[in-house]
């Protein structure tokens, strides 16, 4: 870990060292495969996450086929349906979104945006990726083991998760837990890098209040993840003990299929506390990087500083802190002591206030802007709509008594897909359109991009908005077939079929996007170093794509915040962060 002789430089701020000793790749293998360059690691993370994410996408099609046309597809039975929802959920939340935002965007953007040459522990960073890859391989292997993957639902609630009434009880659950443990180990290695790089390797002049909100979002999310993932780790280890060694951490005395089991005395609710102590911060671990990135997208493409930067920073930090005291709102009907409901409903609804401020500031950034309706901007607009929608339905579920009828129905499914599925994915896609030119030196095709946006955004909205009403009607989640029930009108089945058709359409549109990614790599319009005319440091690199060590001979020096767009009196409508101030600056008086 201590390969660079830090003592020699300990007395000088790291940014002032002409060139921190970097690990220089010696062969093709160490340059592209076992690379220690954060940019390569970022691409490795992104590709792996996208690959396993595509598997989860295909699983969602299979689920939708079953839900839309129950009984038509004989190759999907109840067991498989449960396995599909479990793998789909787990992959999307952890192996795709967490890995993509932190491992992918974090690795690529943090060093570039703070003006560092690389992450501070490149070797650990490399290990982080390979452990993550191993976790993904272990997870994917459960599709091929006897009994298949676990079908316990992504929440893996015991006792069900390790009993024989659930598919994947032999191998699936054990490998799932092992994979999660690996993921957490790998993530911790990466997370240490992201945090320390932001703390210690910022370039000269990059104060915290000059950081782009992207870095704030990813940084805060990483800190939260480092502290929250141990809860999942502990829960996974304890459940592995229960499953493999026959302990009774979570297992009460029970009769399974008429058979008395050896377990006794354990508490399933204990698992739920541990799981959600991780699980709720996890929502914000995905959301905060999205918040940060979308702020920068909106600001850049509206040619206007982000409105209320300070409030945005405080809101990110506040949301991060509050998200550790709301976990039990996932457990209102779990049978925990009912008085917890008062506390957790209050904290949960309080968190709506900083979140709402962020939304207001995004739309107020548009006000009197110079809005370029580029593809990244369109995705940012799509994000605002889906996030506002999903955030507001969160106020239903966070309010304890309203949650009672709605919990475990399709309303919940629609809510969390809107707020932490569609909304962050909108940001991911917008961010890819935004930073692809920096990563490859070429622009993505605009026409294909707009087609991709409209189908994805409108389609996703048509999938999940009506789904809330199925939940309001009372249709429970995790049912492969709702079957006969007096309260369900036949029109509900029609709606389900409609949702399935839209879902498949949206799925196909993603293939257009993949085509665009590959096609533009070779045929895209060359972008130049700063195609969006943006202020932040990553656009000011001497080379595009940035070379090894990012900055050539000298590190950039930062003189201003990240949002000097359309400054009155300036020659251009943006001033890069590393541009020194001129003596005659008109702006000083212009700020209110």
């Amino acid at each position: 870990m201590v390969d660079v002789p830090y003592d020699r430089i300990a007395d000088v701020p790291p940014a002032e060292v002409p060139e921190v000793e970097l690990y220089h790749p010696k062969s093709w293998w160490t340059q592209y495969v076992f690379s220690q360059d954060a940019k390569v690691i970022a691409i490795q993370y992104s590709l792996t996450a996208s690959a396993i994410g595509l598997v989860a996408l295909v699983l969602s099609w299979l689920m939708r086929l079953q839900l839309g046309f129950p009984g038509t597809f004989s190759f999907i039975d109840a067991n498989q349906y449960l396995q599909f929802i479990t793998m789909h959920g787990m992959i999307m939340v952890i192996y795709l979104l967490t890995a993509l935002f932190l491992g992918g965007f974090g690795n690529y953007l943090i060093p570039l945006m703070v003006g560092a040459r690389d992450m501070v522990f490149p070797y650990v960073n490399m290990l982080s990726y390979w452990v993550y890859l191993l976790a993904v391989v272990v997870l994917a292997s459960t599709f091929f083991v006897p009994g298949g993957p676990t079908g316990a639902g992504w929440t893996l609630y015991p006792p069900q998760a390790i009993l024989s009434g659930t598919p994947g009880q032999d191998w699936g659950i054990v490998l799932m837990l092992a994979s999660l443990i690996l993921f957490i180990i790998g993530f911790t290695m990466g997370g240490l890098n992201y945090v320390v790089t932001v703390l210690q390797a910022r370039t000269r002049g990059m104060t915290l209040m000059r950081l782009p909100l992207t870095v704030w979002g990813i940084f805060t999310a990483t800190v939260m993840a480092l502290l929250a993932f141990p809860a999942l780790f502990v829960a996974s280890v304890m459940m592995l003990f229960d499953r493999l060694l026959g302990t009774s951490f979570f297992m009460p005395a029970l009769v399974e299929m008429g058979q008395q089991m050896k377990y006794g005395g354990g508490s399933p609710i204990l698992f739920q506390h541990l799981f959600w102590f991780f699980g709720h911060p996890e929502v914000y671990i995905v959301a905060l990087p999205a918040f940060g990135i979308v702020s920068d997208l909106i600001s850049t493409h509206a040619r206007k500083n982000i409105f209320g930067y300070r409030m945005m920073v405080w809101a990110i930090v506040g949301i991060g802190a509050l998200s550790f005291v709301v976990w039990a709102h996932h457990m209102y009907v779990s049978g925990m002591h009912p008085h917890f409901g008062f506390f957790f409903a209050t904290t949960t609804l309080i968190i709506a206030i900083p979140t709402a401020i962020k939304v207001y500031n995004w739309v107020l950034t548009l006000w009197r802007g110079d809005i370029h309706l580029t593809v990244p901007m369109l995705f940012a607009l799509g994000f605002i709509i889906t996030f506002v929608n999903g955030g507001l339905t969160g106020l239903f579920l966070g309010n304890v008594v309203v949650d009672v009828p709605l919990s475990d129905t399709m309303f919940v499914v629609a809510h969390f897909h809107m707020v932490m599925g569609v909304a962050p994915i909108m940001v991911v896609l917008g961010a890819i359109y935004h930073w692809y030119p920096k990563v490859t030196g070429r622009m993505l095709n605009d026409v294909l991009g707009k087609f991709h946006f409209w189908v994805t955004f409108l389609g996703a909205y048509l999938i999940f908005f009506p789904m809330h009403y199925l939940g309001l009607l009372g249709i429970p989640r995790r049912y492969h077939d709702i079957g006969e029930a007096a309260f369900i009108p036949s029109s509900a089945h029609t709606l389900n079929a409609f949702i399935t058709v839209v879902a498949l359409t949206v799925g196909v549109a993603q293939m257009v996007f993949l085509f665009n990614l590959v096609w533009s790599l070779f045929k895209g319009r060359p972008s130049g170093g700063n195609p969006w005319r943006a202020t932040t440091l990553e656009w000011q690199t001497p080379e595009t794509p940035p070379g090894h060590g990012n900055w050539g001979k000298e590190l950039p020096v930062v003189y201003r915040w990240a949002y000097d767009y359309s400054v009155p009196g300036a020659a251009q409508d943006f001033i890069p962060q590393n541009q020194p101030p001129k003596a005659t600056r008109a702006v000083q008086g212009a700020a209110p």
């Binding site: 003592d7 790291p14 104060t207 780790f233 502990v234 802190a321 930062v558």
Partner: protein, 234 residues
């Protein structure tokens, strides 16, 4: 969940204090210019490895706080039967204290530029840490032969699991210690060695502290302590 919530509160205070030093209320759009105008807001000047270790210790503390939370929630169930703590643990604790002392010795020697002292301290520290681990295994052995199996009671399960978690952390520390020793062996210069030794020492003290807390938990002292506090409060 009180242990982990308490720990999170401590973290929140530390983070809040640090952020309050960073001029978070400044209006950055008015503050154009070189950093020299705004002292104290640049990047941290500590070595990255030291900050990294600090962050890692926070993560590890979170992990152990969660184990403790789970322990204290589970022990209130009716089937809990506290297991007798093997006497060997006291010996092991003594060895772990020795290990920490040895590393502290190495740390002091490193600051005196006394390379021989560093080597002695590192080797003694490693040897006593290995002795501790062997002692822990023997303690498991004793418990097993006395009929306290991992699955026979949740108290036993927790004992095995928590001691294993602590032991694994110590083994990870031994890897770092081994690398440091190898570095000394290869004849690295003192400034390079100094930081590595310091980091190992910090980690060793941390693991000793964790072990003392865990020992208090496993022997039930913490319960008595909490009880006394509660009585004082009411």
């Amino acid at each position: 969940m009180s242990a982990i919530v308490l720990f999170m509160a401590v973290i929140a205070v530390i983070v809040g204090w640090w952020l309050s030093q960073q001029r978070l209320t400044a209006k950055p759009w008015l503050e154009e210019g070189s950093i020299d105008d705004f002292p104290g807001t640049g990047a941290m000047t500590l070595p990255a490895a030291k900050i990294g270790l600090g962050v890692f210790l926070a993560v590890a503390t979170s992990l152990f706080a969660l184990f403790i939370s789970a322990y204290s929630m589970r022990m209130n169930m009716v089937d809990w039967r506290t297991l007798p703590v093997p006497g060997l643990l006291w010996f092991n604790t003594g060895v772990l204290v020795l290990s920490s002392v040895a590393l502290q010795w190495a740390y002091v020697a490193a600051h005196r530029n006394d390379m021989d002292g560093v080597i002695v301290g590192l080797c003694a520290g490693a040897a006593s840490a290995v002795t501790f681990l062997v002692g822990q295994l023997l303690a498991w052995q004793q418990l097993r032969s006395a009929g306290y199996f991992v699955a026979s009671n949740p108290a036993n399960s927790f004992f095995y699991m928590i001691t294993a978690a602590h032991g694994l952390h110590l083994m990870g520390g031994l890897v770092a210690l081994g690398r440091t020793t190898a570095k000394v062996w290869r004849g690295a210069e003192m400034p390079q060695v100094r930081l590595s030794v310091e980091l190992c020492t910090i980690y060793w003290h941390f693991l000793l502290l964790v072990w003392l807390v865990l020992l208090g938990l496993l022997t039930g002292w913490t319960d008595d302590f909490v009880d006394i506090c509660r009585r004082l409060l009411t």
